[in-house]
Amino acid sequence: MAKVEMTINGRSVSGVVEDRMLLVDFLREERNLTGTHIGCDTSQCGSCVVHVDGKAVKSCTMLAAQAAGSEITTIEGLASDGELHPMQAAFRDNHGLQCGFCTPGMIMTAVDIVNREGADVDEQTIREQLEGNICRCTGYHNIVKSIAAGAKEMGSGMKEAAE
């Protein structure tokens, strides 16, 4: 058994888990953060994407023990004070989801894309960077539109904060 301590969505948490426990199972089963989904067993679908120390990773392909000492952000950690994160709002406004199963992973990947590529990220880059996220419903078109819109919104938020 491993004692793991980490920060999840700004709160310090700890637990004693089996060494083989995956981070996604720790989040879902131990912390009740069921927004992070499991859609495959081949590390390909991306519905489990969370941020570990600020970077998008597949939480189904990392042990909870590997994440000990890290800062984790899950989909539940994006909204603040009851206000959706601009990327969440953009998915709602642009019909970026149908069944919603892939959406938490899409949004966590989308925020990571904007963090790396900036608010003016172009469509081609968005499409390339969605390589690791699979959606069975939408055909991706509105997801790409949502991300471009969310990126712009995140950019103006950053500018306001700087002023």
Binding site: A2, E18, D19, R20, L22, D41, T42, S43, Q44, G46, V49, K55, A56, V57, K58, C60, T61, M62, L63, A65, Q66, A68, T109, D112, I113, R116, Q129, L130, E131, G132, N133
Partner: protein
Amino acid sequence: MYETSYHRADSVADAASKIGDEGKYLAGGMTLLPTMKQRLAAPDTLVDLTHIGDLKGVSVNGKEVRIGAMTTHAEVNGDAALQSACPSLAKLAGGIGDPAVRHRGTIGGSIANHDPAADYPAAMLALNATIHTDSREISADDFFSGMFETALNEGEIVTAISFTAPDKGAYEKFRNPASRYAMAGVFVADHGGDVRVGVSGAYSNGASRNSEMETALSGNLSADALDGVAVDAGDMLSDIHGSSDYRAHLVKVMAKRAVAAM
């Protein structure tokens, strides 16, 4: 996943002392953990190399490049010094898997694993790289010994790779439409008129060089120089994704594209 025990190593010596007979080193986990989830591997111990500082980072000194084993694909892709010394390798790293895989997967893990479809092994061969371990140095030519096989001994740790940057280089791959791994990936590097060609994805014994192409290109570095080269389908993988004839054809097309891009 079968039961296992996790150990976070703080030095190479610590890692080597913990591995035991049935343990495995855990790098990015992008190959090992999916394999364990499918119960195709059941190491009793996982020794995590992530927190060993000595194993991380890219250093470039003129044309001499050294990359620590635990450097992630994203770090190789984004390294400014490497982008100017050997842009083809930085670009290759940015084409592996997807952003989340690139945030965790490492160059050391990729070459130690020697998946026949992995991208780095072709580059290591074409760049005439040296693989550094905790006990010796191995040339890439001697390192990749067969599909999923390398010259590494039990418990030996890859610590870094190094090479002299070529005058020019390029990598082109044809992705499997579903898995996105290379169905054929060809790295061509020009070392002062001496051209080396490394091929991933296609050969049944794993990453290999193609000496006929090397000879044809060494006198004449142009895509046309490959017209007369016959790629032997007998050496190629054949599976549900593509026949050996198809792969032999792809190798030639990817090689031509790589030369055209140089």
